[in-house]
């Protein structure tokens, strides 16, 4: 008797699956090898799509963490007040050009604005430094210790200025790391005396390394002196108490706009400016600017990801197209396989596996491309771009899914062929 019960078929199906899978793999690789050029072109869409996804996810998260680091670096909840107006358009003098802000404005802010936590005025300029035989030119900024709170910038060694240093315009300074590297090398700078524009200063502290600013300036190439010292000894002013900028930290992120309003109101009152009149100062919300930069980066990566997804879908359609061609070309082969006992699901599996391999192979090449591109980009822009394994896994699973999704229709078509029609196909 023939044993064709469902049970027997099921048993045969299970036991043959593994072997069948292996031979399907073999057939698929052979088919891809025979049509090398065609397969490569078919995979191109997937390669580009996956490559782009890898670049965007990795470079995007690299950029985001870089921006986040810079936001933390400039200090949180930060407002900056400049003299001069930028509120009106046209050919006007830019911010910081009119000497209108003074130290008393800064002191008033600290007292009268409830949303403000720290206020630090700055005054400074370029100066020439000498230590022993070493020379260096850099920016010298006069400020008060609150500055380092605002900038979230701790000392590496030594101490900050104290009230007495400020009161007496003491000749003490705090160095950034770049200055230390260029003037001191291995020597411990604390307690040493350097000449700033020929005036001897004692080094009392060294700041932590900060890295480059969002605009790419080296923030460690800098010296801080007490505000009063900068005004009286280094860069004297015709108006006493003039400041270049006032750095302000709001009490919290939520209070930033409140603080901005309070500062505006206070300074307008102090400078006798009516509402509607042009202001002689500018308040800039740095945190907001950085947040906008972050949002822009996010929007860009969503946009690029969408394009990459479209490329992946187009790649999938390419695979579907080539698989349909392949099914048509190999109709007789399908007929032969059916004639010797290939079941529908065997044929289906064979073509599905072929589509999945095409897709996964394209995906792997895309990953190689993406990772290489990330390394190149990282080397060029000098940002670290860590490769996320989750992104790679995601891309792999996704390309596999594309293979299944777009391979199913052609494979199903092949599996539904009538054996005799397939055999007779010319």
């Amino acid at each position: 008797m023939l044993d064709v019960s469902a049970r027997a078929l099921w048993r045969i199906g299970c036991s043959s699956f593994n072997m069948f899978f292996l031979s399907s793999l073999k057939i698929a690789f052979r088919a891809i090898r025979v049509h090398r050029m065609r397969s490569a072109l078919t995979m191109l869409g997937i390669i580009i799509g996956v490559g782009t996804v890898i670049i965007i996810i990795n470079a995007g998260s690299g950029a985001k963490s870089q921006i986040a680091k810079q936001i933390a670096g400039i200090g949180s909840n930060l407002l900056m007040v400049f003299p001069g107006s930028t509120s009106s358009g046209g050919v006007r003098m830019g911010a910081g050009t009119k000497p209108t802000l003074t130290i008393s404005d800064a002191e008033a802010m600290k007292e009268a604005c409830p949303s403000v936590k720290f206020v630090a005025p700055t005054w400074g300029g370029n100066a020439h430094l000498v230590f022993g035989n070493e020379n260096w030119s850099t920016v010298v900024t006069g400020t008060i210790p609150d500055m380092f709170q605002i900038r979230n910038w701790p000392l590496a060694f030594g101490s900050l200025f104290n009230q007495r240093d400020i009161n007496t315009a003491a000749k003490v300074c705090i160095l950034g790391q770049t200055v230390v590297e260029n003037l001191f090398g291995d020597i411990d700078p604390i307690g040493q005396v350097i000449r700033i524009n020929k005036i001897p200063f004692t080094i009392i502290g060294v700041l932590d390394k900060k890295g480059s600013s969002p605009r790419g300036r080296d923030q460690d190439d800098r010296i801080y002196v007490p505000f009063s010292t900068a005004q009286k000894r280094l860069f004297s002013t015709h108006i006493p108490g003039l400041v270049r900028t006032i750095m302000v930290q709001a009490k919290s992120l939520e209070l930033m706009f409140e603080a901005e309003k309070e500062i505006n109101a206070l300074l307008m009152q102090r400078h006798h400016i009516q509402s509607g009149q042009e202001k002689d100062f500018t308040v800039r919300n740095l945190t907001e600017i950085m947040n906008i930069a972050q949002k822009t980066a996010n929007i860009m990566s969503v946009l690029l990801l969408t394009i990459a997804m479209i490329s992946l879908v187009v790649g999938g359609i390419g695979i579907m197209n080539i698989m349909l061609v392949s099914v048509t070309e190999r109709t007789r082969e399908i007929g032969i396989r059916m004639a010797v006992g290939g079941r529908s699901k065997d044929i289906l599996m064979q073509f599905l596996i072929e589509a999945i391999i095409l897709s996964l192979f394209g995906g792997l090449l895309g990953m190689v491309l993406g990772i290489t591109a990330c390394k190149v980009i990282a080397a060029v822009i000098k940002w670290p771009i860590p490769i996320s394994w989750e992104a790679l896994l995601l891309a792999f699973v996704f390309t596999g899914a594309i293979g299944v999704f777009f391979g199913f229709y052609p494979a199903n078509k092949a599996s539904k062929l009538n054996p005799i029609d397939a055999l007779r196909y010319e």
């Binding site: 045969i12 043959s16 069948f20 059916m338 004639a339 010797v340 006992g341």
Partner: protein
């Protein structure tokens, strides 16, 4: 015991456009297990159509086909695939080997679908190739083999799974007379030594002379069904 093959009022009608072609017209016959049968008749008389139905590659329009007493009309696609895999070996005029696939892999093909492990598969395929006189040619591709050799690979593929029946539709149609002779003697040997039921479609009277039974088709009907008294050896 039932006959190996039994057809009852087998009808196959092709509708190509407006024209209706009756390829098989009420074919009712039985074939015993162990038979060696030649199917003859002019071109277009329905021989291939008949063979394809016997091979479960095609279905009749009406009528019934019983294989070992089971009505093939009641089986689904997968069950028919299983029958083709286990019970029937088909040999075609055009060989129908897979291109760019070695002789050995071609012969292994039915075993892949019946789930035979790779080692065993190879062994069985080598045996089958040996029994058709192709030992040492297992790594050759079809385009490196002569027509006669290709047909022998196809025969090895048909018998590798110990099929009870070999159906050969004009197996020597594309071969010279020497190769034809070899192929026919292989069929004859398989029939005698292994007891495989062999049904061969042929135009050549001398091939028909080897067989014990000649069924002659004409216009989709069985015109003659001769059972030879004596068996001429090849």
């Amino acid at each position: 015991m039932a006959d190996l093959i039994e057809t009852r009022n087998l009808v196959k009608v092709y509708n190509s456009g407006d024209v209706k072609v009756v390829a098989l017209d009420e074919i009712s016959l039985t074939i015993d297990a162990g038979g060696l049968v030649a199917v003859m008749g002019p071109s277009g008389s329905g021989k291939s159509t008949f063979m394809n139905i016997l091979g479960c590659l095609d279905k009749p329009t009406t009528g019934k086909y019983f294989l070992e007493g089971i009505d093939m009309g009641n089986l689904d696609r997968d069950q028919l695939a299983h029958i083709r895999n286990r019970k029937i070996g088909f040999v075609f005029q055009t060989f129908n080997l897979l291109a760019r696939t070695s002789a050995l892999e071609n012969v292994e093909l039915p075993l892949i679908y019946s789930g035979v492990p790779a080692g065993k598969r190879r062994e069985m395929a080598m045996d089958a190739l040996h029994s058709v006189g192709l030992s040492g040619r297992e790594d050759h591709y079809p385009n490196q083999l002569s027509g006669g050799e290709q047909q022998r690979v196809a025969i090895a593929r048909a018998l590798v799974n110990s099929s009870a029946i070999i159906l050969a539709d004009e197996p020597t149609g594309n071969l010279d007379s020497k190769s034809s002779h070899e192929i026919i003697s292989i069929f004859q040997r398989l029939n005698i030594e292994k007891g495989i039921t062999v049904i061969i479609v042929t135009h050549e009277p001398d091939v028909a002379a080897f067989t014990r039974r000649n069924i002659i088709f004409r216009d989709g009907k069985v015109a003659e069904d001769k059972i030879a008294q004596k068996n001429t050896s090849a």
